[in-house]
Amino acid sequence: MSDRIKRDESRHLLKQLDQNISEYGYEFSSAFYSLWKSVKMLGVENDAVMTNVTRLMGVVKKLGESSPTISFGYNGIDVAVNGQRLKGKRTGADYLSMLTQLFTSMYIGEFIFPGEIEQGELINLCLVTTSVTLGNEGSEDTYKRLLAEMTEKCPSVMLSMYEEVEEELPPIIDPAQMARQVYRTLVEEYDEFTSKLNERRSFNLKKAIRAIQNIVDLLTDTSEESQFHHLMTLASLNAYKQNYFGTHATNTAILSMAAGIHLKMSRNVLVPLGLAGYFHDIAITEEDMDNNDWKQHTERGFILMSRLNSLNLPMMESALANALHHKNYDSFGEDLGDSRQGGMATTPLLELVKIADYFDTATRWWQGKKNQPISRAKAIKVIFDRVAQKQFAPAAARAFLASVGLYPHGSLLKLRGEPFFAFSTGGFMSNYQPVGTVVLDDLLKPIDKRDLYPAQLTDVEPTRDLRVPPSTIAMILNDFKIV
C-alpha cells in the first residue's frame, strides 16, 4: 500500500453532506418516537404530549435550516433521515429498534413532510399511526388504510409503502432485461433528481452512477449478446411513460456514450460522459421551453449541480455540462451569438453531449409544443453543416455518425417502389452492406425482417401524426431478447 493517502481518500476529513443530519438525525428520531409513544399511551390532551411535540418541532426547525423537506423512514436495514442511515444497533438507542418495528407494522417505507409543518399535523400523524400495534406484521392493506387517513388528516405529509427485502436469490437477468431495466431506471428516477435539486436537497447519485455503469457494460459488450442496438433503439424513443425530460436525458446519455465508445474511450471516462449527458438539462423547466429561453436553465443547472458537488470529476463534468452545452448554439439551430470557435468550444466530453443533445431534441416532438421534428438522417446532415459552421467539433460529429449510421436507430423509412415502410434498428454504415431491418405495413405494423441496402430505402419526414405507433415500438423493442 502506498506510503501516503491518495488525494481522494482523506481520512476523517470528509464532512457529511448535510451536517445537520449527523447532529440532529438521532435527536429527531428520538423525539419522534417519544411523541408517538406519549400520544399512544396518554392521548393528545396531555402535557407530556405538548412537551414532546415542542421538542420535536425544535429539531424539525433545525433540520429545516438545511433542507426544506424532511424524509423519515426505514429502508429494511436502518432508520434513515433524509436518506442518511442512523446506525441501527447503536448502544442505548432502543428507540431506533422500536421505530424499525413501527415502520414495518405500519408497512410504511417513508414519511416526507415540509420543514414548516404545523405542530398539529405532527400530532395528527402520530395519532393516525397509533392505531397500529407495534410488533404486528403490517401489510399492503395496513398501508392503504393509513394512507387514506393521512391524506385527510395530514395533507402535507406524503407516504411511501415499505418494500420487503427478498431472502432467496432469484436468477440473474439476461442482458436484454438489464437494458430495459437501466433505461427505465434512468427515465423514472429523473423526476426525483430534478425535484430534489430544485428543492436544494441532497440526492443519492449512486443509482444514476450504477445505471450508467451498466449501460457502459451493455454498450461495450461486442459478443452475440450485445445490447448496443437495443439500447440505441431505446435511445430513439420520444417519451417513455410520457416522461419527456427523463427520456431526453437518458437518450442523450446513451447517445453520448455510444459516440464515446467509437472514440475508444475507457470505461472510466465513459461514466462521467454518460452522467454529463444525463444531467445536462437537469434544471430545465416547462417555462424555459415555452419561452425558448436557453440561457436560464444552463446557469441554474450549473449552480444547483455545483451545490451538490463532492469534488469528484463526474459531478464537475455534469455541472459543466449544464453550463456549456449550449455554447455556440441552441437546440433549434439559432446561433446564440457566442463567438464561433473551432475545434473544442467546451470540453472534449461535452462536445459529444452537445451533439447528442441536439440530435435527440431535433428529432423528437415535445408534447404541447409546435415544433416539427426532422428526420434522423436529416439531423445527421445538419450536424455536419454545423461542423462547417464551427458549432460542433468535427471529431465528435464523426464519432456520433459512426455510432448511429446513415439511417439512425428509430428512423422511419420507406421501401422504394413498395408500399411498405421500414424501421431502422441501426447499422447502416455504407451503401454496400445490407442491414437487417424491420419492415412495416401500411398501418406501420411489423410484418417481417429483411436485409436491406440504404439505396432501397428513402427517408420519411416525420410529422406529429406520422409516427410509429406504440404497439409497433413495443414489439420491436421486445424483439431484442436473448433467444
Binding site: 493517502i5 476523517h12 464532512k15 459543466l320 413495443a474
Partner: protein
C-alpha cells in the same frame, strides 16, 4: 464469451456447488476467519493511517485463508443478507451481530447480494478491495458505493452480484409509449406518403451513402480525443475549467437566490479543496470570495449573501479546521507545487493563531513544505508581535519555525530579534537564525558562523561550512584557514572530509582549492589518500600547481601507494606538465630496489611512466626522456617501459 454470460455461468456453478462440496464444515470455519478479517480491516482503518503495516498483515492472513479454500473449491461465494454473511447456506460466525457498522450491513445496504473470489486472486486485487471497503465505510461518500467502486476496478478474480441483476424487467407494452395520437391524421399521413412517388436517387444520395471521407471517423480523431481527455481528466483540466466557471459566475452574480446558492457552494468549496490538499485552488477560491465580498460590502441588498460568505470564511478562525489543514498537508499525497498554496493559506489565518500555526508546522515531516509554508507567513506579517510568544517556546522546532518566518519578513525589527535568538540554547535554532542573519548583516553573523563551523555537532559543522563557502570576500578566509588546519582535519571522519572536499570543489573558488590541496602535506596518510581520491576531479589543476610541485618534492611522495600514485598522476596534466616533469624525473626515475621493496618501486614507476608516456608526442621533454630511459635507464625502468609497450 461475453462477460455477462461468464458471470451467469459462475453463479450457476456456485448455486449448484453446495451439494457437492466435501468438508463443508471445515471450509465454513475458514470462511468465518475471512469474515473476521474484513471486520479487523475496517476497524483498523478507523484506528490507523492507511500505510500502517498492520494492513499488510491482514492481507497476508487473507491470502492464506483464501488459498486454503481455493484448494478445495475454485470459487469462494459469500452470500450477503440482512443477517450477515453466509457460505454454502451456513450463516457465518461474526456475520450476524456485528454492531450495525459491519461489513455485511454495508454491503447489503449498497445492494450487494453475493461476492465471490476466484482462484488466481492476486495480491493487488486484495489490497485494492480492502481500500474500497475503507472508502465506503470509514470515509463515507455520498456519491459512491461498493458496487460502483468494484465496477471501476474491473477485478479479474473478484465478482459480485448486485440486486439490480436479480430484478426482472418485464417486456414493454403499448402503454409505455402511449402518447396523444390522432389516428385519423396518422392514417392520412401514411396514405399521403404511400401515394407520393419515391424521390429519385441523386448524386447527393450516392455521396451520402458512400459515407464521405469527412464524415468517417479517423484514427486521428481517436488520437486527438486520447490526448484531450488525458489533459482534461487531469486536475489542470476539468478542475480548472470548473473553478473558472464558478469564479466567473460569482463575480458576475446578482442579488438573486441563485447567486446565494453559488456563494454557499463556493464558501464550502474552498474548504473541500483544502481538505483534498488542493491548496492553490483553495486559496484562489478564497481570494475570489473576498473579492466578491468587497463588491457586495456596500450594498444592503447583498446582506444575506454577505452573511453566508462570512460564515464560510470564518472557518479560518476555527482551531479544529486549522488542525485539519495540517493533517491534510502531512498525510495526503500533496504535490510540491501545492506548497506555495499552503503557505498562502496559512497567511490568511488570523495572526492571533500564529503560535498554534508554528507549533503545527513542526508536525510536517517534509522540509521543503515547512520552508515554503513559513516563508509565506513571514511575507504577510505586518507586525512581528504575534510571533514573540513562539520564541520562548520550549520546543526547539517551534522556535526554529519562528526564526524561519523571519526569513520571509522584511520588517526592520527582525534584526533585533535575531541578535537575541542567535545565542539560543538550541543549536538548530542558532543555525536557522544565522542563516537569516547572514541575509541582513554579514558582520553580525560571522562570529556566530565561525562558532558553528567548529560545533561539536557534525550536521551543524557541515551546514555552517556550506554557508561559509558561499560568502564572498576575504572576511571568511581566516575561518576557512582554521578549518583546514591539520588538527581540525584529523578530527573529522571520512564522510565529513569528503563533504568538505566536495563543497570546496563545487564552490569553484581557486583560493579555496589551493588551501584544500595544501592538505596533501598532512602527516596522516589516510587523509592524503582520501584527498588524492577526490582532487583529480577538479576541472583544472592550475590553481593547485604550487601544491602539486610541493608534493613531488616531499619525502612522502615516493612512499605513495600504487593507487595513490595513480591518482596523483591523473593531475599531471598538460597545463602543469612542464613544471612537474623535471621534479618527477628527479624524484622517481632513479629509484631502484635496495632500500625499497622492488615490487613497490616497479608499481610506482609503472604508475608514473604510464602517465608520462601519454605526453611523448606532445612534449619534447617527455620524448627525450623516454628515449634516454630506454637506453640508459635502470633495469626496473627499462622493464617497466617494455611492459608499457614503449
Amino acid at each position: 464469451m461475453a462477460k455477462s454470460a461468464k458471470k451467469r455461468e459462475v453463479i450457476e456453478f456456485l448455486r449448484s456447488m453446495g451439494d457437492e462440496v466435501q468438508n463443508q464444515e471445515e471450509l465454513t470455519v475458514i470462511a468465518s476467519e475471512i469474515i473476521l478479517l474484513f471486520h479487523k480491516v475496517l476497524k483498523g482503518f478507523r484506528l490507523y493511517p492507511m500505510n500502517n503495516p498492520v494492513f499488510e498483515t491482514y492481507a497476508k492472513e487473507f491470502v492464506v485463508n483464501i488459498e486454503k479454500l481455493h484448494a478445495h473449491i475454485p470459487v469462494i461465494p459469500l452470500r450477503i443478507t440482512k443477517d450477515g454473511f453466509s457460505f454454502l447456506d451456513t450463516l457465518l460466525d461474526g456475520g450476524a451481530d456485528d454492531g450495525g457498522d459491519g461489513v455485511s450491513w454495508i454491503l447489503f445496504n449498497d445492494g450487494i447480494r453475493e461476492i465471490f473470489f476466484q482462484r488466481g486472486l492476486e495480491w493487488d486485487e486484495i489490497t485494492i478491495f480492502f481500500r474500497i471497503l475503507a472508502k465506503v465505510t470509514v470515509f463515507a461518500n455520498e456519491d459512491y458505493d461498493i458496487a460502483t467502486l468494484l465496477w471501476e476496478e474491473e477485478f479479474e478474480h473478484i465478482g459480485y452480484i448486485v440486486e439490480e441483476e436479480l430484478m426482472e424487467s418485464p417486456l414493454f407494452d403499448d402503454n409505455d409509449f402511449e402518447e396523444v395520437f390522432d389516428f385519423d391524421a396518422h392514417s392520412n399521413q401514411i396514405k399521403k406518403v404511400l401515394e407520393q412517388k419515391d424521390r429519385e436517387l441523386n448524386d447527393e444520395d450516392a455521396t451520402f451513402f458512400e459515407v464521405k471521407k469527412d464524415f468517417t471517423i479517423l484514427n486521428k480523431d481517436v488520437d486527438l480525443y486520447k490526448k484531450l481527455i488525458g489533459d482534461h481528466i487531469g486536475e489542470a483540466g476539468i478542475v480548472t475549467t470548473f473553478f473558472k466557471e464558478i469564479a466567473r459566475k460569482l463575480l458576475l452574480g446578482s442579488d438573486d437566490s441563485l447567486t446565494e446558492d453559488l456563494i454557499t457552494t463556493a464558501s464550502t468549496l474552498w474548504e473541500k479543496l483544502v481538505m483534498f490538499g488542493a491548496f492553490n485552488e483553495g486559496v484562489l477560491f478564497l481570494k475570489t470570495l473576498m473579492a466578491v465580498g468587497r463588491k457586495m460590502a456596500d450594498n444592503p441588498r447583498w446582506e444575506r449573501h454577505i452573511d453566508i460568505l462570512k460564515k464560510g470564511l470564518d472557518k479560518l478562525n476555527d482551531d479544529a479546521f486549522i488542525d485539519d489543514i495540517f493533517r491534510v498537508a502531512e498525510y495526503m499525497d500533496v504535490s510540491e507545487d501545492q506548497y506555495t498554496g499552503l503557505g498562502e493559506l496559512l497567511t490568511m489565518i488570523p495572526s492571533h493563531h500564529l503560535p498554534k500555526v508554528l507549533r503545527s508546522v513542526t508536525t510536517l515531516s517534509e522540509g521543503a513544505m515547512r520552508e515554503k509554508a513559513l516563508a509565506g507567513i513571514g511575507k504577510s506579517l505586518k507586525t512581528l508581535k504575534p510571533l514573540m510568544e513562539s520564541f520562548d517556546d520550549g520546543d526547539w522546532r517551534v522556535v526554529r519555525n519562528a526564526v524561519t518566518v523571519l526569513k520571509g519578513s522584511t520588517l526592520p525589527e527582525r534584526g533585533e530579534i535575531l541578535r537575541k535568538v542567535i545565542n539560543s540554547e538550541f543549536e538548530q535554532v542558532r543555525m536557522e537564525a544565522l542563516s537569516v542573519l547572514l541575509d541582513i548583516s554579514l558582520d553580525e553573523a560571522l562570529p556566530a558562523l565561525e562558532k558553528s563551523v567548529f560545533s561539536p555537532d557534525k550536521g551543524i559543522r557541515q551546514m555552517s561550512f556550506h554557508k561559509l563557502v558561499t560568502i564572498k570576500g576575504n572576511s571568511v578566509k581566516p575561518i576557512i584557514n582554521r578549518v583546514f588546519r591539520e588538527q581540525h582535519i584529523l578530527s573529522l571522519d571520512n564522510d565529513e572530509l569528503l563533504d568538505l572536499f566536495s563543497t570546496v570543489m563545487d564552490s569553484k573558488r581557486d583560493d579555496l582549492l589551493d588551501l584544500m590541496a595544501s592538505l596533501l602535506q598532512v602527516k596522516e596518510g589516510k587523509v592524503r589518500s582520501l584527498l588524492l581520491s577526490y582532487l583529480p576531479q577538479t576541472p583544472s589543476v592550475k590553481p593547485i600547481a604550487r601544491q602539486l610541485m610541493r608534493s613531488v618534492q616531499s619525502e612522502w611522495f615516493t612512499t605513495l601507494s600504487s593507487q595513490d600514485m595513480k591518482n596523483f598522476m591523473k593531475m599531471v596534466r598538460p597545463e602543469v606538465f612542464i613544471e612537474l616533469f623535471p621534479l618527477i624525473e628527479r624524484a622517481v626515475f632513479k629509484l631502484e630496489g635496495g632500500m625499497f621493496n622492488k615490487s613497490d618501486v616497479t608499481e610506482l614507476k609503472k604508475s608514473v611512466f604510464s602517465a608520462i608516456v601519454a605526453y611523448k608526442n606532445s612534449h619534447t621533454e617527455a620524448a627525450i626522456w623516454l628515449k634516454k630511459a630506454t637506453t640508459e635507464g635502470s633495469k626496473t625502468t627499462k622493464k617497466v617501459l617494455q611492459e608499457l609497450g614503449v
